[in-house]
Symmetry: C2
Subunit: 133 residues, 2 copies
Amino acid sequence: MSEQLMTIRQMCDAYDVTPRTLRFYEARELIFPERRGQHRLYDRRDRARLTLILRGKRFGFSLEQIRQLLELYEPGQHNQTQIAATIKVARERLTDMERQYAELRDAIADLKTTIDDSEARLARATGNTQQTG
Amino acid sequence: MSEQLMTIRQMCDAYDVTPRTLRFYEARELIFPERRGQHRLYDRRDRARLTLILRGKRFGFSLEQIRQLLELYEPGQHNQTQIAATIKVARERLTDMERQYAELRDAIADLKTTIDDSEARLARATGNTQQTG
DNA sequence: CGTTACGCTTACGCGAACGTAAACTTTGGG
DNA sequence: CCCAAAGTTTACGTTCGCGTAAGCGTAACG
């Protein structure tokens, strides 16, 4: 029970994805489930990777960018040159994310202000008092 | 000179997009340049909208979501019901952005840690001292 | 033993967001 | 006057991230 293998169906239920999606990610070499006969079996490592994949998608990263990032989490059979390259790519992603973080902060502030303004105008137009939240 | 109209080429150079992109956004009703004869001319309002469009794209919003948000910035010929609907949609986007902001913060922290770990391992493997920045 | 369920592979389809090519008009230069 | 540049429309092509359907294997259920 140290491995806790899951079928594709269990994975789909747990992560709210379709079988097609999991097979697609596998085809793109983002996850590598075992094969028990024909069937796929997903272990803890696969689930960790899937979590990172879905997170990365939410930030608008492409599957290829995510794949590169995932290499960082696999202290596997890479030589130093490859690892150094992976780290470099990861640093670029990190920079992207930090820039996006700052930009998002500003955009949130802007949007809040604009919504407030719009609400104020609407309130004056209707002559009613609108709720704020 | 109060309007500062720009040609499509000037817009492309200024915002690093292609003519195709600008025409595409216009077809999707995200921007509405004037027509001087056949040619398009972009004013300050178009540029402000384009800035918001490109920003929205960086956050992974679809052009349709962005279009809805843009309505918020146009105190135009909408009735109260439409404005209220627009505000509602905008609040949903705002919630999305705030969630993403928090998640991004965590992801940045995670990635930093992972990069550091990976670097430390690489340093031990090579026996060298690696730079951090 | 049939059929139902689940999974597999193969492959075509699709919406989003443009790229790219073709053919036409307009405008300015030599 | 001719041509090249810039812009326009129309329309088909492309990449990404899957959806969806067809057809096959096999394991379980009644």
